[in-house]
Symmetry: D2
Subunit: 369 residues, 4 copies
């Protein structure tokens, strides 16, 4: 537990693998027995990382093929740990020798080298690579399947890329139908075009752009999340900051709440359809760390890809000399599109964990007959 490669208290996810090692994998422990689950369920989520337009991401990779090694029997989970992985096929370790002594700005190369006394697998960032998020998506696929049984839906989508923002209020139907049809994973297809242009322009200049991903979770019942430390927002925020490149997280009104009056920011209660609801949702669905029954709304700001082909200043650590570095290899000029299914996945992981913790999801899903 100390090492930080595992997370969750009931729905426990342990990651392993490296960007240019044999595989990237994950063990999901604590999934209740009786969930119908197949490799295809997981494959479908992993496929969401495949870009629709290769030109806006890095050179096209081979499709990752999901294998499940344990935990499923006769089409159902058994409550035993589910190990699932993808094998690395395109590993090209040779091209990363440069990185060994000269850390790439914006990457973890430098602190990792110091921390591990030179034993780090530095190839393509090793375990610090964005590729590790395939593991998050595999775990998230299981979480989403489980949440689905309880009516909970998690939807992420880009709302800003390279200074281009979605200004209009997105409709749920738009989000559901457009996100994964759109190359930049933005449900506002108008703005999506401008986003795409912004990415291509940065790419043509050897540069990169960032953006913002929003995620909503619908039908989370009231009472999910624990007081004091393991609050629902705290655990979602933690998981989001575990996604490489996230630099900011906010719920509901977010940083703008700081500029509102209490009377503006408080969400008034009312009764609608026999149920207690709030008339606004500045809280983003979380009060005192516990779900309020309103949609969970969270946003994460994603920095521009640190790997750019422009020359940058760095240091040759073996000689302790300043030097210049031009990062070779395949770069994504913008990682926001790939981050969308990842953020969907990690929010689902936290919700699955907390719904189990709250007792809302039972330990065994009795077989329907």
């Amino acid at each position: 537990m100390l090492a930080g490669d595992a997370i969750g208290k009931e729905f426990v996810v342990t990651c392993f693998g490296e960007s240019h090692g044999r595989c990237v994998g994950v063990v999901v422990d604590g999934c209740p027995a009786g969930l119908p689950l197949s490799e295809r369920d997981i494959q479908e989520e992993v496929d969401k990382r495949i870009p629709l337009k290769p030109e806006i991401v890095s050179a096209r990779r081979e499709k990752d093929i999901v294998e499940v090694l344990s935990g499923i029997f006769n089409g159902f989970t058994t409550s035993a740990p589910i190990c699932t992985l993808v094998w690395n096929k395109e590993a090209a370790p040779g091209e990363y020798d440069q990185v060994k002594d000269t850390p790439r700005p914006g990457h973890a190369d430098y602190p990792a080298r110091i921390k591990y006394g030179g034993f780090t697998d530095y190839r393509g960032g090793g375990r610090f690579s964005g590729r590790m998020t395939v593991a998050f998506v595999m775990a998230g696929a299981i979480a989403k399947k489980l949440l689905g049984l309880f009516g909970v839906e998690v939807l992420a989508y880009a709302i800003e890329i390279g200074k281009v923002k979605v200004e209009k209020k997105l409709k749920l139907e738009e989000i559901r139908s457009n996100t994964y049809k759109c190359a930049v994973r933005c449900p506002d297809l108008e703005r999506a075009k401008a986003m795409e242009e912004s990415i291509l322009k940065a790419k043509s200049e050897g540069d990169s752009v960032g953006g913002v991903v929003e995620c909503v979770a619908l039908k989370v019942p009231v009472g999910v999340g624990e007081p004091i430390f393991d609050s629902l927002d705290a655990d979602i925020a933690k998981m989001l900051f575990a996604v490489p490149a996230v630099k900011e997280v906010e719920f509901g009104a977010g940083f703008k709440a700081a500029q509102l009056r209490g009377s503006e920011n408080n969400d008034a209660y009312a009764i609608r359809g026999g149920k207690t609801v709030t008339l606004t949702n500045n809280a983003g669905g979380v009060l005192g760390g516990i779900s309020s029954g309103m949609p969970i709304v969270v946003r994460a700001a994603i920095k521009p890809t640190p790997s750019i082909s422009k020359e940058q200043r760095s240091v040759d650590l073996s000689r302790m000399e300043e030097t210049l570095i031009r990062v070779r290899g395949r770069h994504d000029p913008c990682i926001v599109p790939k981050a969308v299914p990842v953020i969907e996945s990690v929010v689902a992981m936290v919700l699955a964990d907390h719904m189990l913790r709250a007792g809302v999801i039972p330990k065994v899903l009795r077989e329907e007959k």
Copy 2:
């Protein structure tokens, strides 16, 4: 561990108590043996929550007197759990009966009631009250003492209150000398006046304001934080969201990073004084979840106090009828000033935990002779 009242893996903090119960307390487990520590060390930090100008906070409370029940022997920690608490003196439970059935907008009353089937201690928010942060400050006091031995300094301060922002670049000396001399805990004494006015104006209108607290941690060595899930920023973010009223957290360039190009946002490496440094600090001192050796810089946006004296819409849950509520009792028109030492404390807690985890702080601090 499931319940969420404990946090940390080496420096483990467990909170107990309620706003209007007997006490608010904390058990700190995992503090190395050999740290010089006294009740006075903790008292000094708890005293930082006392407002300099009572008019900008709630009606003045009696001073909280810290008692240490265990874990210190002959002036040093022994590595045994340190239990420390303050007794509640001003508890006035009667005045909260109103809250029992009618949840206050912006508070946890409603989800807590649903979650715990009516068994919650609702008096003054019970364990959801901001008063619980006294426990965070007591634990933070121990963390800060420990960090101090290793040269690490943690400084928090208000940079925005009620739309009034600090615009100038704050100097370290200003922060160190001004923060706790200033009623609103803002080192920019000019802006502090405007902040104060903003608070008093809101108060006079029965309303409240929010703000932003910034926190820097200096001299954190390179290599603190764990890859994948328990990254330093993820754990700091989690702890900050555990502070009531925090709705947004960002590191370094934060949400603005989303609008920068990679070439602008990346922090270039250079050598200064024989050491590897970055020329900018957009990363806020964390790369790949691990400290880079640059200052940790984090900001938290704090919503306006939900308790306002203006009338608000709510629901009588026992009758399932819409109703109006006017929250009685003592309100802070702005909790930012009180949040400053709390944020300082929780960041210190996470740093102590991670410096222990990284092996930077040993398990026993050998006695100097």
Copy 3:
């Protein structure tokens, strides 16, 4: 969590305090909301540690008065952490200066000194003292109350002291009615007399005796315990070895199983009263780490009290010279009687934890109306 002062995953128990510090206390986190609980419930269990005949234990101590500091509201648990403690009244620290440099054989003095670099609170063994088991009993009292709601009963009793063994098969009624009426906590009142004599004889010779405590847990439902590591027997065994002086733990046929044939040791299944049962219970109620529905049967062997008044060989660690030590202070010539309620308590703690983990006990106990 690293420090080892907390245990349990849903019913989490964190101990604090020292033998001659201010208090001995415990925080119980994860107890479901809605359990009727009072200080008296806990006091009654703590009182079971009071010897009926002072001559067979150490000089009579003042009664420990239980105080509950948090987690109970209107007579019910709220799910908030329950902190409960007893203040130390008879602390006589002065008499332990001898121990500072000269470790008592059979105690933790020596390894504790080395481990903590001399910062240990050595007075009366500090946190290694048997007095810490008051905390176990307080936590166990809550666990037993909780288990009782679900029909589970935990009964411990001495079956061997100072070579005197219970030979006959004890009836449940005998156990329930005799144990706490008997000074040595043995339900076989015949053998109890011989046990008592054995203790008094050892005492008169400045020596001590050990014994064996058996514990049965009745009506634990089938399916409690987790496969692989957190098996029910593994967690019970761990907790029992956490009780000072326990040197051996066995379930069911225990060490004798090693000498049986498979055909003798296997418990055959049958149907009785419409339920699946086993005709024997050599397994002690646990199969593959999971409860079988039969009574849990476990035994713990307890070493003779290490504190004896006979002179013993030791080492003056400050001078690194061999020396002799005669342990002063109040000794129990046999700790088995005091261990009985402690073992009952820790078994109850583990069962409460695992019944919560198995989902057999819900997170909120809905109020009966």
Copy 4:
């Protein structure tokens, strides 16, 4: 963490796989960076499970080939999680259909079925199978390699099988050289013959025998283990009870300590070669839960294999009728020989974990140059 498939706090071991699924694997997280490690190191330990004389175990299995999927780079650990597995080749699921509804006495079939509502992978015991201990041995191999760097040696060996006991005092050299040369893993080659006969006799009668394994850990430094709950003996005991078929665990004098006087059982201190030692080791190397610097000595009693070919009474759970069962398939008439390397492994795992926790093993093993 809740699910129980992971153990350890710094050296964290997570198991996955099933007896007749695709593989049996393990993720070891928290192994320090810089440990020289290869697949061969792990293979050598896994090979110790291969019987020297097939007739005393079940029908010969194919050799398990170890594959390492992550965490090693250039021949050294990197601190990233190490995933290692063996693929199941001889899975013959069909032959286990019988077990689906009729639980085998002495196995986990019955409680597992109830616990998981019929979703369990029952083939060959699924995740309850003794085959899962291959995972323990793979993790133990890494632990042993790590301990070896710090001079710690762990040795397990049979001391009793089928009522045949080793009576003489075993010499260290005998243990080291004989154990793995002997088919029953007993260093006393005389008694080993009688043990073997005892096994063959039981086998010829369609029955099975149990035994006792002793394990010593040499050169564990003073101060390893945590007070209160995570004591060294408590954690070793827990791990041993996680090994299928263990029914009793004892340290040092063990259950016999209960019959000694304090003056007999206490281990007196003396100085030998400038070091503090004890003249006897009834404590088995652990005092107050912390290592004393003397050898750790622990014994585990192992029940006779529950799978026997004799007819046994059971219940058809689908019809709720009593029935007879004759367990088909490959049986070990005695699992003690296979348990020896497993027990060595799990003791090593706990020691690695606790030596890391105590700070005795650092987080990074600096490269020697």
